[in-house]
Amino acid sequence: MDTTVTTEIKGSVWGGGNRPLGASYGKLMMWFFLVSDAITFSGFLAAYGFSRFKFMETWPIADEVFTHVPFFHGNYPMIYVAFMTFILIMSSVTMVLAVDAGHRMKKNAVIWYMFATIIGGAIFVGSQAWEWATFISGDYGAIETKGGRILQFVDAETGDRVALDEFAKTIADERVAHEESNGIWYYGESTLPTYTVNEVMEGFKANPNVVIQTETINEEGEKTVLSRQESLNKLANASQVVEGANLIHNEYGSRLFADFFFFITGFHGFHVFSGVVINLIIFFNVVLGTYERRGHYEMVEKVGLYWHFVDLVWVFVFTFFYLV
């Protein structure tokens, strides 16, 4: 027990004279913030869990959504997120090394370790931006039904996903995007999908080896693939073509999945971004010798706490969004 009531009173216990927690004001306040921020993130993740439990049988499978690695074509689930996780843990290590060097008052070591931390953070934010861009632009395309469910297309023999442009027919004389310059009220509309529902339908009828995969997860933990006849029946309910994901439509499945993806990874990415900015400010202070003159590097320790917290949150986001 290193926390006991002080029996000898040196000076005043008022005005901050007594320090039962042995931590400075700034560090304590950083911990206050981190605890409340941790609870905020827990709220998001718990809400994600709620929605996932609510739609347990139709939730998208993360391994089938995040399959891309920059500069490589093909199907590599998890690899890129694992890389991002490693980058963040690595930058946490350089941060803690910077704190350690700060305790030993080694200015140059602090500078280099902080520099490496900032680079790591920048790589992570960049990776996340790339992940978002890939997620938003989508890869195969899908059909949304009148009930808002997503129908994806797979090859009947191999079970591989089939992209819309591999089978959809091009039918001339379809409608064009309505631009604001044409309308009386100057309302435009967003870009039309590459194919119309009709083009996908006709293409589907002409390609007997394409079938539909629904959102429902079967007992083997995979998405249900329908027979040709069931697929045609399902397709009768089609309402629109969805390519990629946004807050309203999501070609990967449940739209809540996209909403939570944007919200949770976005909030985390914003934390990483602010962390990089704060680290930069402290980095310049270190370079200018502010803490050398102050006599201690506690400021580095405090931003370090924030930086590790960002890493800590990512460990949980990684598990609950990509693994479980």
Binding site: P20, T145, H308
Partner: protein
Amino acid sequence: MAHGHKLEIFRGLLKFKSNTQKIWGVLVFLTIVTAIEVILGIFKPAILTNTLVLGMKLLNWIFIILTLVKAYYIAWDFMHLRDEKSALRRAIVWTPVFLVLYLAFILLVEGNYIFDVYKDGFMKWDF
């Protein structure tokens, strides 16, 4: 605290000579844990996905436990909670743990209940 780092991890099984060494040691450990998670996530062994423990797949339990292990070492060694006074450590750890367990419990139970209502209470909702 500025001086006096505790240099043991795994309850004293592994003792490092300096704080820097301990940091690298923890990095190696965290990397191994992440690698195990990723490998399990890619291959999803059938034994682990078919076994249910308390209504959840054993694989998911493994993921969550490994995550908590990682969180412990990040907080204890990177955020150096190991070197802080136990009162501060407990205030930081148990407050969120209590609140999060409570929130997760009520939300997951409620989510599961709504799932049942959708599944059994409606003729059809998934059009």
